[in-house]
């Protein structure tokens, strides 16, 4: 069996006395799309932030290509260079144009020349239908455009894994589609993607693995047809029922 791209082994995370992640284990194979679903406050965002080492892990191991990157003293920048992240509220840098948002890390982290970085930025903006926004500032764009620019910024680094943290939650319903289209396109080119999401239809139709997180534990995981077709756990059934009742599936 091949080594998973990312392995979470028994990861726990506490904020003070609150346990947010309680022994989460998960294997993510290269090129797969993994959806993390579950009620608000179940720990989805924290899980993604732990994978990117933005949060300190209290317990457990995080393996990247079989190597433990969670050991104390390991340089997190090396991990982050290989794992990109996109946030719920885009987090574009408001004082920079879209082009500068994308080229900053290309130049300062990967050491590309200004010209090479701008070329790569233009290429990605064209791919995500943002060519005319190259010199715009984030505040001058719609939410959907901003989020596509944020994805472009992360993808420009050519990460091996992309973490998407509820990237459509802040968008108007009619803008969700254009962002999800971008994610679908990334899937077709074989990007490994882990997404925390409330878009159940997207999780059902576009992922290889669905994990249901509840109170910091993965209570059930499987293929979309297993989770959405024949959920085994009562709490999964309740969660899906609530989602269906609210008209989101």
């Amino acid at each position: 069996m091949t080594t998973p791209k990312i392995s979470l082994r028994n990861i726990s995370k506490r904020f003070g006395t609150v346990t947010v992640l309680d022994g989460v284990s998960l294997d993510i194979s290269s090129g797969s799309v993994v959806s993390i679903v579950g009620p608000s406050g179940s720990g989805k965002s924290t899980l993604l932030r732990c994978i990117n080492l933005l949060e300190h892990i209290d317990d457990g191991e995080l393996l990247l290509d079989g190597n433990d990157v969670s050991i104390p003293g390991f340089d997190p920048n090396i991990v982050r260079r290989r794992i990109g992240m996109v946030f719920q509220s885009y987090n574009l840098f408001p004082h920079m144009s879209v082009s500068d948002n994308i080229t900053l890390a290309l130049r300062r982290v990967l050491g590309l020349s200004r010209v090479a970085a701008q070329d790569r930025a233009r290429e990605l903006l064209a791919r995500f239908s943002l060519s005319d926004k190259e010199l715009s500032f984030p505040d001058q764009m719609s939410g959907g455009q901003q989020q596509r620019a944020a994805i472009a910024r992360a993808v420009a680094m050519e990460p091996e894994v992309l973490l998407l943290d509820e990237i459509t939650s802040a968008l108007d319903p009619e803008l969700v589609g254009e962002v999800l289209d971008v994610v679908r396109e990334l899937r077709t080119v074989g990007m490994t993607i882990v997404l925390a999401t409330h878009e159940m239809a997207f999780a059902r139709d576009s992922s290889d693995l669905v994990c249901v997180l509840d109170q910091g534990r993965i209570i059930e995981s499987g293929t979309p047809s297993q989770i959405f077709g024949a959920p085994q756990q009562e709490r999964t059934q309740q969660f899906l029922q609530r989602v269906i009742n609210s008209g989101r599936l």
Binding site: R49, N52, L54, P76, N77, R80, R81, G84, M85, F87, S89, N91, L92, F93, P94, H95, L104, A105, R108, V109, F137, D139, Q140, A150, R153, A154, M157
Partner: protein, 279 residues
């Protein structure tokens, strides 16, 4: 050429604009009128006019004061870069997160507390008289030098707090985004956090610089003849307060353009980077 008739809305808005202009003009002229009519009616206006608004004294003192003001500008100009650099260092140290830097953080906190807790004038006396008293050779015993050092040390503490507020005001998610791209802590600070923080604090920063511009005059109390002291000399010589008024005019000549320019720069930056504005 035909002129499009104005719509009802356009007519209404034009009427509104005319009304606001009229109100503004009326209220302004009313106030000017009150000042011009009422003040000369005060019982001793004649005496005050003689000792504060004496045209002859004004034109006589003005060039001397302007000449003395060059020293104020010099002190201001060489102090500001040191203040900004020192303040940034203190602010960055106070915002550092590494446990290993705790001693430095403690020093930075003590520094801002102590420097801000004592009046500027007292620091000018203590440092400006104290350090030259150590008996160093020229130029190291100059009160001008140590007066400036006192200004730098006190103002750096105030400005450091301004920078710190700016850094705190940049949302944590910006740092998260920067770090997620693989930028180091220092790179995140330099390219993402500080540029936003500094933009946010330019108005309070300018406020501190305008204060500094005025407090430079305090250095005169330990010796150097700058504008305030020159005005004092002229006042005593001619037994007339007009030189003080001339000095005030000279200060305003510098500070008002300074603040107007900053506002203009900020407005230009805002228009460049932001979307539509609510009315």
């Amino acid at each position: 050429m035909t002129v499009e008739p104005l719509s009802r809305r356009q007519l209404f808005e034009r009427a509104q604009r005319r009304k606001s202009t009229l109100i503004a003009a009326a209220s302004s002229s009313l106030i000017v009128l009150l000042v011009v009519i009422l003040i000369p009616k005060m019982p001793r206006w004649g005496r005050v006019r003689q000792s504060f608004f004496n045209a002859e004294r004004f034109t006589d003192s003005f060039p001397r004061l302007l000449h003395a003001f060059v020293l104020d500008i010099k002190i201001f100009t060489w102090s500001v870069p040191f203040i900004v650099v020192l303040a940034l260092l203190v602010a960055i140290t106070r915002n550092s997160r590494s446990p290993a830097l705790f001693p430095l953080r403690a020093i930075a906190i003590a520094y801002t507390d102590i420097m801000r807790g004592v009046p500027v004038l007292l620091w000018i006396y203590l440092i400006g008289f104290g350090v030259p008293g150590l008996g160093m050779d020229r130029p190291w015993n100059s009160p001008l030098l140590w007066g400036s050092v006192a200004l730098v040390l006190t103002y750096a503490a105030y400005v450091a707090e301004v920078f710190r507020a700016g850094i705190d005001g940049v949302h944590e998610s910006q740092r998260a985004a920067a770090r997620s791209l693989g930028l180091s802590n220092m790179q995140s600070l330099r390219f993402v956090v500080l540029p936003q923080a500094i933009r946010k604090v330019i108005p309070p920063l300018m406020n501190d610089l305008v204060s500094l511009q005025k407090d430079v005059a305090l250095v005169s109390l330990i010796g150097p003849v700058e504008i305030l002291r020159q005005a004092g000399i002229d006042k005593s010589k001619f037994a007339n307060f007009t030189p003080y008024l001339a000095a005030a005019a000279i200060f305003l000549l510098l500070t008002i353009p300074l603040t107007r320019t900053t506002d203009w720069l900020l407005e230009r930056e805002r228009r460049r980077t932001s979307g539509t504005r609510v009315r």
